[in-house]
Every structure is written in structure tokens, then in C-alpha cells.
Point group: C2
Chain length 198, copies 2
């Protein structure tokens, strides 16, 4: 059972290889995009053969899924902590700021997160993207006594898209002022959870 993908008790070297493969996959997605990833590419970077990769993971899809989950887990941990520390009223802003910060500090993770959502590859439930933010928005409105003048879901969709776009532009043009864009983004969408007739 050593070749199980979700093996609970993996040996030391097994876990090391798995981690290495995942790292290489993340790097590859960053450089060539989701579609540009192949087993040979991963294997070459890791200094092993394609089949060796397929020993540690049952299939190619399992490899990129594992890589995605790794990236997602780090993001969720970072954003989750920031949101918890902020409290309900400031949670939405903390969500946006921490997500932008984390992915700008881990540029390699950005493309994978974005393509996992927009791309047709690895088609996931899109509600996983906007639902967390939508909940924070509803909670913030309640905590502030703000009248919910518009759907929290569509607000979350809008804000999420804006975040992605800013991150993508930071990737494509290193000279783009991501900090200023982040501030502007926050200022624009604050009425969603703050107050305004809109």
C-alpha cells in the first residue's frame, strides 16, 4: 500500500519524495500554466522518471490535485488566521488584504489558485470560491447593523474577481504597484459591508 495517494503513515523518504514532487509541480504550474504540466516535466525537474512519479501518485491528476491542496491549505491557514484576529466587523477587509498579501508573497502559488478557478481543467465547485467571503460579508453587515442592500454572493464574486485580476497583473508586470491597487480595491468595495445606499 505504499503507493497510496493518501497514505496516512508514509515512510520518511516517501514523504520527502512526495513533497519534492509537489514542489516541482507547483513551480511548473507557475511557469507553464495548468495546461503546460506533464509527467515528464515534473519528473525531469525532480531528477527522476515519469514512472517514478506515478509510483508515488496513482495518476497525473492526483499529482496536481495534491499540489493544489497544498497551496490551498497554506492560503486558507493564512487568511483564516487574519480573519479570526480581525473580528466580524473587520473580517471582510482582513480577508481581502491577507489574501492579496499571501499570494503576492508566494507568487508561485498565484497562477495555480487562479487557474484552478477560471480554467476548465480541474473544474471545481465555484461556490467554494465566493461562499467564505459572502459569509464574512453577511456577518460584518450584521455586526455593524448595515442594511444588506445587495446580494452578498454577487459582492463576493465581484471582489474575488478583482483580487484575481490584481494578482495576475502583479505577476505579468512586476512594475505594477500592487500595494496601491490593493488599497484602491479595498476602498472601492468597502461600501459592501460598511454603509451606503449604493
Amino acid at each position: 500500500m505504499a503507493s497510496m495517494d493518501s497514505g496516512k503513515a508514509a515512510t520518511f523518504t516517501q514523504q520527502a519524495r512526495r513533497d519534492q514532487i509537489i514542489d516541482m509541480t507547483i513551480a511548473l504550474v507557475d511557469e507553464k500554466g495548468y495546461a503546460g504540466v506533464s509527467l515528464s516535466g515534473i519528473a525531469e525537474r525532480a531528477g527522476i522518471t515519469k514512472a517514478a512519479v506515478l509510483y508515488h501518485f496513482s495518476t497525473k491528476a492526483a499529482v496536481v490535485e495534491a499540489a493544489y491542496q497544498h497551496v490551498l491549505q497554506l492560503l486558507v491557514a493564512h487568511v483564516g488566521k487574519a480573519v479570526d484576529d480581525a473580528g466580524p466587523a473587520q473580517a471582510p477587509e482582513a480577508y481581502v488584504r491577507s489574501m492579496l498579501r499571501h499570494l503576492r508573497e508566494n507568487r508561485q502559488h498565484t497562477r495555480m489558485m487562479i487557474e484552478a478557478m477560471s480554467g476548465h481543467e480541474g473544474r471545481r465547485d465555484t461556490s467554494a470560491r465566493w461562499r467564505p467571503l459572502a459569509e464574512l460579508i453577511r456577518a460584518a453587515r450584521a455586526a455593524r447593523g448595515v442594511d444588506p442592500h445587495a446580494s452578498a454572493r454577487s459582492a463576493a464574486v465581484i471582489i474575488g474577481g478583482a483580487i484575481d485580476s490584481v494578482l495576475l497583473e502583479c505577476l505579468n508586470d512586476p512594475d505594477f504597484d500592487g500595494d496601491a491597487a490593493a488599497d484602491q480595491l479595498i476602498n472601492l468595495v468597502r461600501p459592501v459591508w460598511s454603509a451606503e445606499s449604493a
Copy 2:
């Protein structure tokens, strides 16, 4: 020279075949995404062989580029007219509204436009995406005498991302209220070209 991609004077049947191939490519991108497109897929839909496709277009990349240009041209025509009719002060709002309207009315075109930007495939100059809107924003600020409190570029990046996200959600969930989301989006970003200390 009949097999030229950009042949100026193509025969009738040539043009018909080209159009048919382009239509099938657009449909295929819509269904399987940019990465899911193959010559065999296109050929199968068109009822011809791969090589027949490659007679009309020199390469696979040329096929999808032609399909993209076709989609882009229709979008630009629609948005361009709306913007011209609106006048400088209302141009940004007309841009956003007409783009949302056009792509919601031509759902098949949506995924191609979005993946052409975010994806690593067909990597284009990203400034082509935000520059037009950024110019409209600058012009609107001038026409209204509004102080440019923030970068028009980053504003255009934010707005463009929000548009994409709303369109994508409309694709993924037909029950999603795209009209309401469009209104909310406009209301949120209006301060960019209207007035506000932000």
C-alpha cells in the same frame, strides 16, 4: 497561395470552410476550455479530417488565433459603438455595461475571452485588456473635472477582473442573477470616474 491564413481574396468555399472551422473552434473552447481544443476535435465537429483543417490554416495556433480574433472583433464592435454613443462622461459605464451585455448574450464567447487573458496559453500583452478602459476613465475624469485620486490603470485592472468574474459565475450557475450583479458592480466602481475622496 490558397492555404494562406490571411488570404485577402479567398474563394467562396474557402471562406465558408474557414468560417465553419472557426465556429467549431469557438464552440469547442466554450465546452472544453482552451486546453481541451485539438485539431481532431475541431475536424470531427466540422465533419472533416485534421489535415483538412490544416489546409485552411497553417497551424493549430493559427486556427485558435483566428477564432479569438473573430470573437474579439465582435466584442470590440459592440462595446466601441456603445462607448461612442455614450460620450466621454458616461463612457466607462457604457463600457462595463455593454461588455457584460454582449458576452452574456454570446455565452459561447465568454470562456475564450477570459482564458485568453488569464491563461498561460496564447499569452498576450495584458495591457491590451486594461488600457482601453483606463483611457476611458481618464477621459471621463477630465470631462467631469474629477480629481484623479488613484491610478486609472489599477482601476481598470480591478474593474476588468470583476467583469470576468461575474461573467464566469453566470456561466457556471445559470441561476445567478447577472443583471443584479452588473448593477452592483457599476455602483461599486462608479466613484472611480465620478467623485469621491476614496
